[in-house]
């Protein structure tokens, strides 16, 4: 089956998921992002690569943070940006996703950045857009959030360049997390030898080991000697769905505190895709502490998104 993300010459045509991307392309994105980090530190934070192009943010699911970083990234590439917040109420479903896309294509959009509550939405859109349009998945249901996965490994690479020697732990609600899935694929593709997931059984997908991870239910054991701790956000619905008893018990067993962090290597870094639930999955002191690289993640997020857009626009 032809990978819908790649052209016939195996160059990037859409960014829909990290799964299925060759290592060469992951590295191309990360290396290009290096150049964009410097742009943010200049007086004029723009480069002319996407001048004259229109990037359309299609957010069927709300998100201020991700939408803003994509907007900033597109503008720094000198693109024109349209943002559409499409409500997912059942009335709005009257205009189908594909109708919305057709309308936007008629308005000369060159690139769509799409976020949707359903897994597979970005794939569906990519299948139906006109041939010159690129689609970037900004998060589809539980399936993938490739730019987040990319900026996470970019961050890891900055602090821990020896990727072939790392132990990485992903902690939290892996079952519902598109970020976790993208992170797992990015880490395994780039050759990180040990990727661990730490969570209660109710928050892990069936057959998760088949994704190439080691499963831990005990956080202290799972964090032993890791170099990178990647925390995931916990959503309130999990208590309502009988997957967890309470936020308090979750914090006690799976929340990252200084004490638990001490199990990891002394120079381990702490990451979180945001927004954080302080006191639920992570202790404030750790989030703001010396091992946290949560703020740099945000900066790198813009550079990585600029890299993705540039590569797509040029292919």
């Amino acid at each position: 089956m032809q990978n819908p993300q790649l052209t016939e010459d195996s160059e990037l045509k859409h960014l829909l998921s990290i799964e299925g991307l060759p290592k060469r392309i992951l590295n191309q994105i990360l290396d290009t992002a290096e150049s964009f980090v410097g742009v943010a530190e200049r007086e004029v934070k723009k480069v002319p690569l996407l001048r004259g192009k229109t990037v359309c943010n299609l957010f069927f699911e709300n998100s201020t943070r991700t939408r803003t970083t994509f907007e900033i990234a597109a503008k720094r590439l000198s693109a024109d940006v349209i943002t559409l917040n499409v409500s997912t109420s059942s009335q709005a479903k009257g205009e189908t996703i594909l109708d919305t896309i057709d309308n936007l294509t008629a308005m000369h959009a060159d690139m769509f950045v799409v976020r949707h509550a359903q897994s597979g939405a970005a794939h569906m859109i990519a299948k139906h857009v006109a041939p010159h349009i690129s689609v970037i998945n900004a998060g589809d249901g539980r399936h993938a959030h490739p730019t987040q996965g990319l900026l996470d490994v970019f961050t890891i690479r900055k602090y821990k360049p020896e990727m072939h020697n790392l132990r990485v732990a992903i902690v939290g609600d892996v079952l519902h997390s598109r970020v976790a899935r993208s992170e797992i694929h990015a880490l395994t593709t780039l050759g990180v030898p040990e990727v661990r997931v730490i969570a209660p059984k109710t928050l892990l997908p069936q057959d998760v080991e088949k994704l190439g991870v080691h499963v831990y239910h005990d956080m202290n054991e799972g964090l032993k000697d890791v170099d990178v701790v990647m925390m995931l956000r916990l959503q309130n619905e999990r208590m309502a769905g009988a997957m967890l008893p309470s936020a308090q018990e979750y914090f006690k067993t799976y929340g990252l505190t200084a004490e638990k962090l001490a199990q990891a290597k002394p120079d381990a870094i702490v990451m979180h895709p945001g927004p954080m639930n302080r006191g639920v999955e992570i202790d404030s002191a750790v989030a703001d502490g010396s091992q946290s690289v949560i703020l740099p993640q945000v900066t790198y997020g813009i550079a990585v998104r600029m890299a993705v857009m540039s590569i797509l626009a040029g292919n």
């Binding site: 089956m1 819908p4 799964e19 189908t96 996703i97 594909l98 949707h116 359903q118 897994s119 597979g120 939405a121 794939h123 569906m124 589809d140 249901g141 539980r142 399936h143 993938a144 598109r178 899935r181 997908p205 069936q206 057959d207 998760v208 088949k210 994704l211």
Partner: protein
């Protein structure tokens, strides 16, 4: 009308025929096999050289979408599709709109279907009013109106007490209860087999246990109440195992599998192909193999099409939101043939699962070519390949996981009651 079909290869599992035999039809019935009956002069001769003649297919589940869902399909188009698929008898589930829980609705459906003079339509009545799982339906009245069994379609009964009493009542009169085994709470909002593929794709899974737990309950209640049960659309290897054990212990239970599930696994979802969104979901390779083995050793009795046409737009949504189901009337035969070939099975054994066996389950005189049986016949070319595409399908439903594939098995003639309805 006297018809002589000559030079064809006849396969009739019930009567053990698998040889070159002519067949003679008169007054809507089979008048003779092999040798012309005395004084027979044909009005019409069909040359079936290189073709195979089998009993008209009996399909245990075909949603004709009338009444109520005419935007998805109509009786007119679907009856033509059935004929094109070589299907001469079919059972339709009660999940129409309104639900088939009133004798008047059943009579109207039967009447309407009869007017087309095509396949015999055997409606399944609803087991509970509105399929709501609270009150039992007037099963005797419905049976009199023409229902051959009682079903909940895809709507599981949550209240075990109601399920028990519904089955107990059906057992009183010897009615068969048709249930698709799926525990509703475990299956809620699930769209794919709960396993590696669902984990990767971020789709909510339906665990195999949803089916096995339901089979366990249903079989137990059937045993205690004495109800005859037909389990619809098995999908798990453990499920097959449970039916095998029940049959071995002498319990009266039958079951079927959808032709789709003999060919698909969860890997076929690929890049979120909405055409593979089915109920039950296609499961693992191991489950698929178990379904084949189940048919081979008689645990599973029949293969059905599970024909579920949807309108064009209904699949143009992200996987979980796309409507579940696949069109199937015209694919039942070619998919069965492919399954037989892939698994190196005898053609006559495979044909049994779509003719004699389903006819037995329905309790109707069909699925065989005995002399004096109704002349319901399918004549097909086993070597003719055709491409599964929208324009090749007569059904209004163009949604199938097999779109774009070329399959062997083209129906050349279909006869119902001795007259040609297709070809």
């Amino acid at each position: 009308m006297k018809i002589h079909i000559k030079n064809g290869h006849l396969i009739d599992p019930k009567n053990g025929i698998d040889a070159k035999q002519d067949i003679y039809i008169a007054a809507g019935k089979i008048a003779g096999i092999g040798k012309a009956p005395e004084g027979f002069v044909a009005n019409q001769t069909i040359d079936a050289t290189n073709l195979v003649i089998i009993p008209g297919l009996v399909d245990l589940s075909a949603r004709l979408r009338e009444p109520g869902f005419e935007h998805k399909a109509t009786l007119e188009s679907e009856m033509l599709a059935a004929a094109a698929g070589g299907i001469t008898s079919l059972a339709c589930p009660p999940d129409t709109d309104p639900v088939l829980d009133e004798p008047g609705l059943v009579e109207m459906l039967k009447h309407r279907a009869k007017q087309f003079n095509q396949a015999h339509v055997y409606p399944l009545g609803a087991l509970t009013n509105q399929l709501a799982g609270k009150e039992i339906t007037e099963m005797c009245e419905l049976s009199e109106a023409g229902c051959v069994g009682f079903s909940q379609a895809d709507v599981a009964i949550k209240d075990t007490q109601v399920l028990w009493r519904a089955m107990q009542y059906a057992a009183t009169f010897g009615f068969t209860v048709w249930l698709r085994p799926e525990e509703p709470y475990l299956a809620k909002d699930g769209v794919a087999h709960d396993g590696e593929v669902a984990a990767r794709l971020g789709l909510k899974g339906i665990p195999a246990a949803a089916e096995t737990l339901a089979i366990a309950s249903i079989l137990r209640i059937a045993k205690e109440t004495g109800a005859k049960v037909h389990l619809c659309r098995l999908s798990t290897s453990e499920g097959v195992e449970m039916v095998r054990a029940a049959k071995k212990a002498g319990q009266q239970v039958t079951c079927d599998v959808s032709a789709n599930h003999l060919h698909l696994t969860d890997f076929d979802i690929g890049y979120f192909d909405a055409n593979t969104h089915l109920k039950p979901p296609a499961r693992s390779q191991r489950d698929k193999t178990a379904l084949t083995n189940g048919l081979a050793d008689g645990t599973i009795d029949a293969i059905c099409s599970d024909h579920t046409p949807v309108d064009d737009d209904a699949k143009l949504y992200p996987f979980a939101e796309a409507e579940a189901g696949a069109t199937g009337l015209e694919l039942l035969l070619p998919l069965t043939l492919k399954w037989a070939e892939d698994n190196k099975l005898k053609l006559s054994d495979a044909i049994k699962h779509i003719t004699q066996a389903p006819a037995n389950i329905l309790g109707v005189a069909a699925g065989n070519l005995s002399v004096n049986a109704s002349a319901d016949i399918c004549v097909f070319d086993p070597k003719q390949y055709w491409k599964i595409e929208a324009k090749a399908l007569l059904s209004q439903g163009k949604n199938t996981p097999f779109l774009g594939l070329e399959l062997a098995g083209k129906v050349k003639y279909t006869l119902v009651n001795g007259h040609v309805v297709h070809g």
